[in-house]
């Protein structure tokens, strides 16, 4: 048993933390939030240069990491700084899926992702699929040497900025069968693909994507026809570890901002941090933070093993962090008072990151159900 980071990960953590604390200030980030693309190309390039994207890929795929603890180390730091850049979408989901399923020619994109040259989006969820990962009603029909995609994709994060969308579509099976789902690499400017983009409440952008008879060559398919689900599940597992770690990082910042605020802010003639009722609430947050940290360690540490155990630990982590995160976000705002209600204050953004993370891949209740299903399995 060993709970220390390896030297490499410690260095990655240090350099990423330093970079973000120097460059990704509240005002820089608030400008990005107001921007058109949902992220900063400049910051993106520097993250790639720092090796942050490469750390999310295995050596086999051209990176120098890719394990659960690489992902959790990177995303905890991103979370601490409230980073909205689409690493989860372009690298973990998009790049990860291509690395898992792509042929040699398709895999060239992974190298570009690691270099920071390409943006991706994973167009998987649909207007009525909610958090069900196998519910795909978009169809892929073979027409000679071509494939025709028809359907709608919902809340596709980073879709507008993406050079390619990775679109899931059904080639066979019932609407929620795990069999019969394929993935296709679709350049954003493909005819028949249209989107309505919008900003997200917690930063970044997404789009509703319409696939109105999009015609693709058969070579656009990633992997075998109808056999993509297991790679999707793997990629989502990695994304959920990332999201849990990111939320942990954001919770750390929220708690630290609150601690600092209570020490400096005075009311009724004394720092409000001297009021015992608030002290005990901060103690509660710190305790939950340790719980969340351990939950992330459990999830990251099981990412490479048995799939059921992996998913059980992920569901546990996401349920715990869903509950603890809500407490941290709400209590941090409450203990700050009005200032935390203003958009420009750091905590406001951090609290939104924490709470809205519940809405990707399932909230605490959904994760609890999943944990129960997996426990019974």
């Amino acid at each position: 048993m060993n709970f220390d980071l390896t030297e490499e990960r410690q260095m990655l953590q240090d350099s990423l933390r330093r970079f973000l604390s120097d460059r990704y200030t509240t005002s820089v980030r608030n400008e990005i939030l107001e921007g058109e693309s949902g992220y900063s190309a400049d910051i993106w390039g520097q993250l790639a240069e720092l090796g942050v994207i490469g750390a999310l890929f295995s050596e086999e795929d051209g990176g120098f990491g890719g394990a659960g603890f690489d992902i959790s180390t990177v995303f905890e730091e991103l979370g601490r700084a409230g980073v909205v850049e689409p690493l989860l979408d372009t690298a973990l989901l998009g790049g990860g899926l291509i690395a898992a399923l792509g042929n040699d020619s398709q895999k060239e994109l992974v190298e570009e992702v690691i270099g920071g040259a390409v943006q991706l989006a994973f167009a998987h969820g649909e207007p009525t699929s909610r958090y069900e990962t196998s519910r795909v009603e978009t169809t892929a029909t073979v027409d000679g040497a071509e494939i025709i995609l028809k359907g709608q994709k919902a809340v596709v994060v980073n879709a507008e900025a993406a050079d390619h969308l990775i679109v899931s579509a059904r080639e066979s099976g019932d609407a929620d069968s795990t069999d019969g789902i394929s993935l296709f690499l679709v350049p954003r400017d493909t005819a028949g693909l249209s989107m309505r983009g919008y900003a997200l409440l917690a930063g970044g952008r997404a789009a509703e994507v319409d696939l109105d008879g999009v015609r693709l060559p058969e070579t656009a398919r990633l992997g075998a026809a109808g056999g993509a689900y297991s790679a999707i599940a793997d990629a989502l597992a990695r994304a959920e570890v990332a999201l849990a770690a990111e939320t942990l990082g954001a919770m750390e910042t929220a708690t630290e901002l609150t601690r600092q605020y209570l020490l400096t802010r005075t009311q009724f003639g004394r720092p409000i941090g001297t009021f015992q009722a608030l002290q005990h609430r901060v103690a509660d947050l710190l305790i939950e933070l340790e719980q969340a940290r351990s939950a992330v360690i459990n999830a990251a540490g099981h990412l490479e093993g048995d799939a059921r155990l992996r998913d059980l630990n992920i569901a546990a982590a996401r349920n715990l962090i869903g509950r603890a995160g809500r407490l941290v976000a709400e209590d941090s705002i409450q203990m700050h008072g009005g200032i935390a209600m203003t958009q420009e204050y750091e905590l406001a953004h951090i609290a939104k990151r924490i709470v809205m993370a519940e809405h990707r891949f399932g909230d605490a209740d959904t994760q609890l159900e999943r944990f129960l299903d997996l426990s019974a399995a």
Partner: protein
């Protein structure tokens, strides 16, 4: 004990309901139900409709143009307005300033200001909070110095709700800098068109512009705009805060919110079944409903006691805490119900706009409302302050 309404009260409820059926414009109730803002025009219009009916000022004495309703009638009116998705009546002039003027204002002030509140000529906002003061109102720093027949006001107010629409502001200002905290404060009425006043928007974390900073630089205010006596403003301020507490439980809002959550959860599918049938979601809804049933009765108990002349005491602090907890819990359920469609930043849906909102009906505003309503437990005397009050009263003054 009798939990049923009298025949007269039931008839009154019917009268209110008919009025709302007839006079509340549908586009207005739609906007409220969908969580969209009304803008100044919308508020003005509803204000005028109520004024025409004579129902704009339920809490005013009849001599000043009030309705002459008792506490139970006012409760029924509020309940029906929430159920019909009527806009909230902007409270600053009608419910906050007016009671102060009616009790402490001069005859001239009453005659001049009260009719203009009713006819909408004056839109009031509040100048209570200051940066750095928070729940500790008495530490305010904005000062007014008497020069001849004017006060010269300098300082800054904040959290001024809908100040961007207002043409008048009532302010707490420090007129005696040497007095102890709660002494030396005066209550001034200030025309927002006076030179030296600047209103700066504060954007809240959900992207809405609902509150403001108001800056005063050498603003000249005629001495006749002083309410009551100089340096006695704290007395009037406390009186105002007591009146701010009407409908503090927000039962009607919670009831409407819970109905909206149920509507949404009936239409959202979760694993092939309506979300409302999911045991965990259903349990959240049921517990909120159970809590609300109880709080609603607590509210009626207090109203009923008030109707028979008992002054509400620490109970209003209890209602504030429980009422805001329930409303916030309902907001949390609504965002859960919306699933992935809670994610879009729907500020246009909240503030009005022409594009249809993203996502299924009812999902667009819920996440923004969840964050916006964190204010409920902060503003108007934070829940911590309310608990201090409860402890002080119930722990024998030892707090």
């Amino acid at each position: 004990m009798d939990l049923s309404y009298t025949a007269e009260e039931q008839a009154f409820r019917q009268e209110v309901r008919s009025f709302l059926d007839e006079k509340l414009p549908k586009e207005m109730s739609d906007a409220v139900r969908e969580g969209r803002g009304l803008g100044k025009e919308g508020h003005d219009r509803w204000h005028a409709i109520l004024n025409e009916q004579g129902w704009l000022a339920p809490n005013w004495p009849q001599e000043f143009g009030g309705c002459g309703w008792n506490a139970v009638q006012r409760h029924i009116f509020e309940e029906e307005c929430c159920r019909a998705h009527a806009p909230r009546i902007v409270p600053f002039g009608l419910s906050m300033l007016a009671p102060v003027l009616q009790k402490f204002g001069s005859k001239e002030q009453q005659d001049y200001y009260l009719p203009k509140i009713l006819n909408g000529e004056h839109w009031w906002c509040q100048g209570y909070s200051e940066p750095g003061a928070g729940s500790d109102l008495a530490s305010l720093k904005t000062k007014a110095v008497r020069e001849g027949d004017h006060y010269i006001v300098n300082g800054q107010k904040t959290w001024t709700t809908l100040g961007q629409y207002a043409n008048w502001i009532f302010c707490l200002v420090r007129t005696d800098p040497d007095a102890k905290q709660q002494e030396g404060i005066s209550f001034l009425l200030i025309d927002m068109d006076t030179p030296g006043i600047e209103v700066r928007p504060i954007i809240l974390l959900d992207g809405t512009h609902e509150v403001n900073e108001v800056w005063f630089t050498d603003v000249k205010v005629p001495v006749e705009n002083l309410v009551g006596e100089e340096n006695k403003g704290w007395t009037y301020a406390k009186y105002l805060l007591t009146h701010e507490r009407t409908n503090i439980a927000g039962v009607g809002f919670s009831q409407a919110g819970l109905d909206a959550v149920k509507r949404l959860a009936r239409s959202q599918m979760h694993k092939g079944r309506p979300l409302i049938e999911n045991p965990y979601f259903a349990a959240r809804v049921a517990q909120a409903e159970i809590d609300l049933m109880a709080m609603s009765t607590t509210n009626l108990r207090i109203i009923s006691a008030a109707a028979s002349g008992q002054a509400p005491g620490v109970e209003s602090s209890m209602l504030k805490v429980k009422g805001t907890e329930i409303r916030q819990e309902i907001n949390d359920m609504a965002r859960r119900a919306a699933g992935v469609y809670a994610m879009p930043f729907a500020s246009e849906a909240v503030e009005g706009g022409n594009e249809p909102p993203i996502g299924p009906e009812g999902t667009a505003p819920v996440a923004a409302q969840y964050f916006n309503n964190r204010k409920l437990s902060i503003f108007g005397g934070s829940n911590e302050i309310q608990k201090n009050i409860i402890a002080k009263v119930k722990m024998g003054g030892r707090a």
